[in-house]
Symmetry: C2
Subunit: 275 residues, 2 copies
Amino acid sequence: MQKFSRAARAAGKTIALVPTMGNLHAGHLSLIKIAKNKCDLVVVSVFVNPAQFGPGEDYKKYPRTLPADFKLLRASGVDIVFCPSARQMYSESFQTSVNIRCLSPRLCGIYRPGHFAGVATVVLKLFNIVNPHVAVFGEKDYQQQLVIKKMVEDLNYDIKILTGKTIREEGGLALSSRNRYLNREEKKAAATIFQTLQLGARLIKRGERRPGVVLQALRSFLRKQSRLKVQYLEILNADDLTVITKLCTRVLIALAVFVGKTRLIDNIVLDIRGG
Amino acid sequence: MQKFSRAARAAGKTIALVPTMGNLHAGHLSLIKIAKNKCDLVVVSVFVNPAQFGPGEDYKKYPRTLPADFKLLRASGVDIVFCPSARQMYSESFQTSVNIRCLSPRLCGIYRPGHFAGVATVVLKLFNIVNPHVAVFGEKDYQQQLVIKKMVEDLNYDIKILTGKTIREEGGLALSSRNRYLNREEKKAAATIFQTLQLGARLIKRGERRPGVVLQALRSFLRKQSRLKVQYLEILNADDLTVITKLCTRVLIALAVFVGKTRLIDNIVLDIRGG
């Protein structure tokens, strides 16, 4: 992979990387489209990264569908699929980790300790292996793309980070490989997640500026759907994930819920500067 | 700096980096010589890195002698001197750090918590800024070069790490920018440091294989020099800094001592495999 990138760069080609854990859906494909529009060559990595799963999480059962992924990737005109094994990525004596101190221990990071260090470390490795000019991440994993952008800035990577909008089913449910864990009833219930975010957006657009009031309304709304168990629901500054007491900036509404045993996340960003 | 390296690489040139904190002496110059022999272009960074100094350490008084350094660097035929400010390297919102879990909390890392994370992070930044093919480190900072080699391996950097032998004064004292803190009496006393290492080497070469016995002899020897206060004296596996109960591999003898208020380190590596 490193040799390929070295030769491509020597030939004046630009390289875009789309890191994935496989089990590709329309969300991933939209990121690949962005990559193709931006660079001469597109590398998609497929790697279910053990370092970003906590104990008791779904590392083992995470869907691995490489043959189907290859079919989609071939159809989408990707140049290289990079799919290393866990042993290739992590030697027995592996001991290095990258931590983004302030952005990591919030939202998902509270409930998944070590998750963002695992993400940052593997993405840094992929950056060094693929040596891309551009890398593309999905906005569904909002905190993740923020962590990666900060890492790139702090560590002087000469890589442009682009993001792709969350792709949703007709009912509003954000596409995720984990949606396949849901049965029919659970899937119906999961539609409430995006409805909650939309309700928050409406309240804020109508002029509500007190985060506590918005959160109260959203919690009441969520409580009506008994199949959902909220892990977190927060309204934060979308730029640095700090707590805000008055809504007057770029605002993130983010939540994680359990639908049965399946944990789903979603978010929405509202820009109400000057509004 | 990044643009320079990109252009140099595009023109087929190889780049070597020698990271320093300035106040250059013959030790640094020997590393530059290695770099010049190996690559077309040599970049020397001069940066007193605040992140690797602990509270109460000598960050503020660390010798900064840029005009003299420039003179030496010009004479030694270096192509680029990269000397960023602390503010350029660390923005106000800087929050990323790189940790090498097992190698860091040993030897110096026990007494300088955070030191090797600070070193690894700044070296990673320099790697991303300078984008070298080769980087050269001194063996006087033995643990440091081991940490960097492990980081390069774990994070898939396509960079060859070379090391240069410790350069010593006639009396055996390892060259160090901190030697200038010593008065005449202290400097005389500091010669005991290398004598201790040499005594250890002699004992092992003569067949002693019990680290405890060697350490005991070295501690007795050091105790005779009342101006030295030992911080640590250890015999470890030179490859991974693990404790060994029988000397039968590559062996590191390393120590840190205070001479007055000045902390000095030194080490020696013996290869007794099959011996």
